[in-house]
């Protein structure tokens, strides 16, 4: 119980007494991430092993998933060619699968199986990756000048404005530009901490509830199922959709 605080900051290496300092590596998180990757690769291999024209049950599930996400990405991004939509679909589909499996890893009650997303480093990394991709796409589509102009606020670019209004529009950028820059950074913080908070919060609540009501273990198991399956899936979906929407907003 008293270990709740330590778990939030860093993980202990199993079998060692020392704590990993801030500049080191969370070995447990990396190992669990490798386990999730192994499961994903084996699922991918099994899914594409036999392709038939009339799909069997497994192939049907895979096609349903791919179709659903492809439709989601295409309707959000509305890019010209199918090729470009495919590239983003690969990212979004993989992100969702990784997050769902990572969140579901908490289902196993053994000691070393933890969700890698319960580590703030994992979620911050994924959030930063999403925003870097979105910023890079925005720079590529709009150019550096266009991107900075968009950050300078809605009153920066005015057609046919006279002296006073033009100067006021340009000066408003002094107010809007830092606000928008901080807003971009705040997006990273918000999506990462939302996923982290939900997953680690579920874990802490289950630990405390199990400690309190050890006679009614069905309560802890029911809460466990709710937090890990429902909250895990919803938060994975929300993270994925927000990343997709940030990319869509950057491209338009």
């Amino acid at each position: 119980m008293e270990g709740i605080g330590e778990r939030l900051i860093w993980h202990y290496v199993p079998g060692m007494d020392a704590a990993i300092p801030m500049g080191g590596l969370n070995v447990l998180t990396v190992l669990n991430t490798l386990v999730v990757m192994a499961v994903l690769f084996s699922l991918a291999y099994l899914a594409v092993r036999k392709f038939a024209m009339v799909p069997g049950r497994a192939q049907y599930v895979v096609e349903m998933y791919v179709g659903a996400f492809d439709g989601l990405v295409t309707s959000s991004l509305e890019l010209e060619s199918r090729q470009q939509n495919r590239r983003f679909f690969a990212l979004i589909g993989a992100l969702f699968m990784f997050l769902v499996l990572s969140n579901l890893m908490g289902f196993f009650p053994t000691h070393y199986f933890e969700e890698p997303t319960a580590d703030i480093n994992c979620t911050l990394g994924l959030g930063t990756m999403g925003m870097i991709i979105a910023t890079f796409c925005a720079l590529r589509v709009k150019g550096l000048g266009g991107y900075l102009e968009e950050l300078a606020g809605p009153m920066w670019s005015q057609e046919g404005a006279t002296g006073g209004a033009l100067i006021a529009g340009k000066l408003s950028a002094v107010f809007f530009f830092p606000l928008n820059v901080v807003g971009e950074l705040a997006k990273i913080v918000s999506i990462s901490f939302r996923l982290f908070g939900n997953i680690i919060g579920g874990g802490i609540i289950i630990v405390v509830v199990s400690h309190l009501v050890y006679n009614f273990s069905w309560l802890a198991v029911g809460l466990d199922v709710f937090f890990i399956f429902f909250v895990g899936t919803v938060q994975a979906f929300v993270f994925t959709m927000l990343t997709l929407t940030y990319i869509a907003v950057a491209i338009k």
């Binding site: 900051i9 901080v182 939302r194 908070g197 919060g201 405390v208």
Partner: protein, 325 residues
């Protein structure tokens, strides 16, 4: 009268439990009443559907009333958890009162917010009884996601109860109370906002049931964005509890940390409610016109981002207070 460690313990426990239940029960009670009122109105319109409406009302009230159960659990923990040696005296009182503040304020918002989808669910089930299961499932999903802020508040309250604070004197008071107010008030606005969004989404999915998938997607994204102030509150609470080093132990340390907590906490009330209103209308319109959902989503996100700017200001001030001055 001299304040011994035992006196501090009693003061802390009684005040903390009072805050926890006194504030935590308000929201859920009002929300459950809203659901009941809307259920009666729905029964007036469709008397034959009364059993379905009654069932939906009870489910909606049960799910929507769970923040008050969280508050009850934390209140009982506050009253009866034994104080360990590492956390006693004034620091214990501060931590326990802060836990009560966190859960009390946090469950107010979520409980109140869950009343809207409960009411819309009863209305929708009476209007469209053939789709009763899908309407009530969207109601339950909306309510469950709208309770995330109260779950964050519960987590911070549990951390305050079980993890000893690494500071002494007035700074410990400031850290605990600041973390409690940051999380509690930070969860207040988003709870209400997520609830209004869910209400609009349930209304939309009952009137236009064929676009339910798009409506639910918009609802989840809108709720996630309107819960950003709660995330900021939790972030500041965690920073204060775990990452504060060389803090002055006197009244200045208290002022810094408590001020940071109040800033990020109450600064999040407005953006939470406002972004929730934006999400409510976005969900209704997406349900009516699902083919334009990309455009609606983009407009909603840009509007919500501007409305979240005050939450960002509060976060900046809180971080400046903690780390710069």
């Amino acid at each position: 009268m001299e304040w011994t460690a035992e006196t501090w313990e009693f003061v802390g426990r009684y005040l903390g439990a009072g805050f926890a239940l006194g504030m935590g029960g308000i929201g859920a009670a009002v929300g459950m009443g809203m659901a009941a009122g809307k259920a009666n109105e729905a029964m007036m319109r469709q008397p034959q559907q009364q059993s379905v409406v009654l069932r939906t009302m009870l489910i909606g009230q049960a799910v929507g009333g769970s923040p008050s159960i969280f508050a009850l659990v934390i209140g009982l923990l506050i009253l009866f958890k034994s104080s360990s040696a590492s956390l006693a005296g004034p620091e214990f009182a501060a931590a326990v009162i802060a836990a009560g503040l966190s859960i009390g304020l946090g469950c107010f918002g979520s409980g109140l917010g869950c009343g809207w989808p409960g009411g819309s669910g009863c209305e929708g089930v009476a209007r469209n009884p053939r789709r009763a299961t899908s309407v009530s499932s969207s109601m339950i999903i909306g309510q469950a996601v709208a309770q995330s802020p109260s779950i964050f508040a519960t987590v911070v309250a549990l951390i305050l109860l079980f993890v000893p604070v690494s500071a002494t004197g007035y700074a410990a008071f400031g850290i605990c109370l600041g973390a409690g107010v940051a999380m509690g008030a930070g969860a207040l606005g988003p709870g209400i906002g997520s609830g209004t969004t869910a209400g609009g989404a349930v209304h939309g999915s009952s009137r236009w049931p064929r676009s339910q998938a798009a409506t639910l997607r918009t609802m989840l994204i809108a709720q996630a964005v309107s819960q950003t102030p709660a995330i900021f509150g939790m972030l500041v609470a965690f920073i204060m509890l775990f990452a504060m080093r060389d803090l002055e132990g006197d009244i200045i340390g208290f002022a810094k940390t408590f001020g940071a907590g109040v800033a990020v906490g109450f600064g999040g009330v407005g953006p939470g409610i406002g972004s929730g209103t934006a999400g409510e209308f976005a969900c209704r319109v997406t349900a009516a016109r699902p083919r334009t959902d990309a455009l609606i989503l983009r407009t909603m996100l840009i509007g919500q981002a501007v409305s979240q700017s005050t939450a960002i200001y509060s976060l900046i001030i809180a971080l400046v207070l903690l780390y710069v001055v």
